[in-house]
C-alpha cells in the first residue's frame, strides 16, 4: 500500500497539488502576479513606445514591432521569475512551520517530496506567466493556438529552471529575513541584462556592439541565459529573434537540466 510506482505517483501528486493550492490562496502573490505585468506593459510599454519608434540614436535595423510587443515576452518571463524564486520561501516556510516534520516522518519517498515541490513551483510560475499572455490583445500580439504549445513549453522550462534555483537557495537560507531584498537583487539584474527592455542592435557583430555599447554590458547580456530564453519566446510570440534558434533552445534546455541536477544533488545531501 505504501510501496510501488502507484504510491510514488500518489505522493508526487499530493505534494504537487498542495503546492499549487497554497499559492493560489496566497493573496499577496496573486496581487503581484496581476500588478507586475500591468505595470510593465502599461507604464513602461506605453511610456517608452514613442522613443523606441523614432530612436534617440540612429539604429541600423528596421524595427518591425512596437515597443510593447518587444517587451511583452520579457514581461512573461519576469512574471515567471518572481514566483519561481518565491518557491524558496515556501520551502523555508515548510521547514520552519512544521509541515516537513509531518512529511519526513511519513513513508513518502524523499525524492517524491523534491519533485513534487519542484513541479508544483514550476506549475505555479508557468500559470503566473500565463496571466501575462491574457494581455496579448491589448498590445497587438496575435497568439495563434498553434504557437501556444511552444510558448508554454519554453515558459515551463524557464519556470522549472528558476524554481530549482529557488529551492537551491532555500536549502542554504535559514530564515525569511532579507529574502525580499535578496530575490530582487537576483531577479532584476538577470531581467534587465537579458535584452528584455532594450535590444542590443542585432545587425551589429559582437565587436561592433562593443563599440556602440559598453563592452561589459554586451558581455553580461550575452552570458545571461535569460537572454536566450526571452529570445526564444520572442521568436514564438512576435516572430522575431536576435540569436540563432539552435543556440536559444540549447541554452534553455541546458539551463533546466543543470539547475534541476544541482538542486537535486543539494537535496540528496
Amino acid at each position: 500500500m505504501t510501496t510501488g510506482a502507484a504510491y510514488y505517483w500518489k505522493c508526487l501528486y499530493a505534494i504537487w497539488s498542495r503546492e499549487v493550492k497554497r499559492s493560489v490562496r496566497e493573496s499577496g502573490q496573486l496581487v503581484g502576479a496581476f500588478s507586475r505585468p500591468l505595470l510593465w506593459v502599461i507604464i513602461f510599454g506605453v511610456g517608452l513606445t514613442p522613443y523606441f519608434r523614432t530612436g534617440l540614436r540612429e539604429t541600423s535595423f528596421v524595427v518591425p514591432f512596437t515597443y510593447m510587443q518587444y517587451i511583452f515576452p520579457a514581461v512573461v518571463v519576469l512574471n515567471i521569475l518572481y514566483p519561481s524564486i518565491q518557491s524558496a520561501v515556501s520551502l523555508i516556510y515548510d521547514r520552519q512551520f512544521g509541515f516537513f516534520r509531518e512529511v519526513f516522518a511519513s513513508p513518502v519517498p524523499r525524492t517524491a517530496v523534491f519533485f513534487g515541490k519542484l513541479l508544483g513551483g514550476a506549475t505555479v510560475a508557468t500559470l503566473q506567466g500565463g496571466l501575462v499572455l491574457l494581455l496579448a490583445p491589448y498590445v497587438d500580439v496575435a497568439l495563434p493556438v498553434k504557437v501556444l504549445p511552444a510558448v508554454l513549453g519554453v515558459m515551463f522550462l524557464v519556470s522549472l529552471s528558476f524554481t530549482a534555483v529557488g529551492l537551491l537557495i532555500a536549502s542554504r537560507l535559514k530564515s525569511f529575513e532579507g529574502f525580499g531584498v535578496f530575490s530582487n537583487a537576483l531577479i532584476l539584474p538577470l531581467y534587465f541584462l537579458a535584452s528584455s527592455v532594450f535590444p542590443l542592435d542585432p545587425s551589429l557583430s559582437v565587436q561592433q556592439q562593443q563599440q556602440v555599447f559598453p563592452p561589459w554590458l554586451v558581455l553580461l547580456v550575452r552570458s545571461n541565459p535569460l537572454t536566450y530564453a526571452i529570445d526564444l519566446l520572442r521568436n514564438f510570440i512576435i516572430d522575431y529573434h536576435e540569436h540563432a534558434l539552435t543556440l536559444d533552445v540549447t541554452v534553455v534546455v541546458l539551463l533546466a537540466v543543470v539547475a534541476c541536477t544541482l538542486s537535486f544533488r543539494e537535496f540528496r545531501r
Binding site: Y13, K21, F100, R101, V103, A105, S106, E266, F267, R269
Partner: protein
C-alpha cells in the same frame, strides 16, 4: 532493584493486554540495549524495555533525558547505532517504511499546513499514507467526529485555536489506523481545559480501536494515568512499571519536613540514611510515617512545616535521581538541529 521486565527481554509482560484484537500479539515496542551518541555525547546508554500492545505507555523524564532521541529512533528519523528496536514486531533498521506506516505521530511543535483547510490537511495525510480516496473520505469524517471537529471541514487550519489544532493533529495521527500513536509532549502550551479535552479524546480513541499510546512528557501528572511508565534520565531507564507499582516501591508514603535546623538535619540524616536532604528540606519515603513522627516527637516543633502524603511519581523520580524533575536542566546536550529542523531540505 529495577522493576518488571526492564532488561529482561524474553520475559512475558506482566501487564494484561488491553487490546481487543486477538490477532495482534507481541509487544508494540521492543527495545534491547539501544544506545545512541551524538558525536561524543551519549544520549541513550543501553535502553531495554518491552511494551505490550494496547498499552498507554509514558516516557517520563526531564528535558535532555533522551526521550526525543528514543522517539526519533522509533520513527526511523535517526539511524540506529547499536541495539535492537522493534515497533509492532517490525525492525526499525530493515523495515523503516512499514514502521512509519504503523506509527501515528503528534509532534511537540505544530505541524499542520495552516493555509489548507481541515479536510485538506487530513486528505493530504491520507494520500501520503497510501489511503484510497474512499478510505480518506470515510476516515476523515470518523476521526473528526472523535475529536469533535465535525463541521469544521472547510475551515482554514490557520483560524483554529491552539487546542483545536492539537485535536486536528491527533485526528490526523490516527487517520491511517496506526498501531502506535506517539505523542511528543502533546499538551505543551495548552490551557487546562484543552488539556483535559485532549486526554478525553485519546481515551476514546483507545477504547474504540485498541490503539497503543506512547506519551513523552516531563509533566508528572500526565504520566500518572498511564498503564506503564518508564522513568528516563541521562539516557538510562531508571524505572519501568505501572505507576502504582513504582510508587509502592518507595514505601507508599512521603514524609517531608521543611525548614529543619542544621543540628536536627544531621541527626535525621544519621537515623534515616535513605532520606533525601536538599538544603533544609528533608524527604523520606516510608511505608509507615508514624515511625518518623514518633522519633521526632517534640522536636517536630523546631521544624517550619511538615507534610505526610502518598508518594507520587515525582517522588519516585526524586528518589531515583536525587533531583526534582522541574528544576532539571538539560543533562545530555541535544544537538543544535533535530532530525527534521535546520538547514537543508529536511
Amino acid at each position: 532493584m529495577l522493576w518488571l521486565h526492564l532488561g529482561i527481554t524474553d520475559h512475558a509482560p506482566k501487564l494484561t493486554k488491553m487490546t481487543s484484537n486477538p490477532v495482534q500479539s507481541g509487544p508494540v515496542i521492543s527495545a534491547q540495549d539501544v544506545r545512541f551518541t551524538y558525536g561524543d555525547i551519549p544520549a541513550l546508554q543501553g535502553v531495554s524495555l518491552e511494551v505490550p500492545r494496547g498499552t498507554f505507555f509514558a516516557l517520563l523524564g526531564p528535558n535532555g533525558a533522551g526521550k526525543s532521541t528514543l522517539v526519533s529512533l522509533l520513527c526511523t528519523l535517526l539511524p540506529m547505532q547499536t541495539g535492537q528496536l522493534r515497533v509492532a514486531g517490525l525492525d526499525v533498521r530493515r523495515s523503516s517504511a512499514q514502521v512509519r506506516r504503523a506509527l501515528g505521530l503528534v509532534f511537540q511543535e505544530p505541524s499542520l499546513d495552516e493555509r489548507l483547510t481541515v479536510l485538506e490537511n487530513l486528505d493530504f495525510h491520507g494520500q501520503i499514507y497510501g489511503l484510497s480516496a474512499r478510505e480518506r473520505r470515510e476516515r476523515a469524517a470518523q476521526v473528526l467526529g472523535v475529536v469533535e471537529l465535525s463541521g469544521w471541514d472547510n475551515a482554514t487550519a490557520r483560524i483554529l485555536s491552539r487546542g483545536m489544532k492539537r485535536r486536528l493533529e491527533i485526528a490526523r495521527g490516527v487517520m491511517h489506523r496506526p498501531e502506535l500513536l506517539i505523542l511528543d509532549e502533546p499538551t505543551t502550551g495548552l490551557d487546562v481545559q484543552s488539556r483535559h479535552a485532549v486526554w478525553a479524546y485519546l481515551s476514546a480513541l483507545r477504547r474504540e480501536s485498541g490503539l497503543s499510546l506512547l506519551l513523552t512528557t516531563h509533566q508528572i501528572e500526565e504520566a500518572e494515568d498511564a498503564d506503564l511508565v518508564a522513568i528516563i534520565d541521562q539516557g538510562q531507564v531508571l524505572a519501568f512499571g505501572a505507576p502504582a507499582e513504582l510508587r509502592a516501591q518507595l514505601g507508599g508514603m512521603l514524609v517531608s519536613l521543611r525548614g529543619v535546623p542544621d543540628d536536627l538535619l544531621g541527626e535525621l540524616g544519621a537515623r534515616f540514611p535513605e532520606a533525601v536532604i536538599q538544603g533544609s528540606t528533608f524527604r523520606l519515603n516510608v511505608a509507615e510515617p508514624a515511625v518518623v513522627l514518633a522519633w521526632l516527637g517534640s522536636r517536630l516543633s523546631h521544624v517550619e512545616a511538615f507534610s505526610v502524603q502518598p508518594a507520587s511519581l515525582e517522588d519516585v523520580f526524586l528518589k531515583l535521581t536525587g533531583r526534582a524533575m522541574r528544576e532539571e536542566r538539560a543533562a545530555v546536550l541535544t544537538p543544535a538541529s533535530s532530525a527534521v529542523d535546520g538547514r537543508g531540505f529536511r
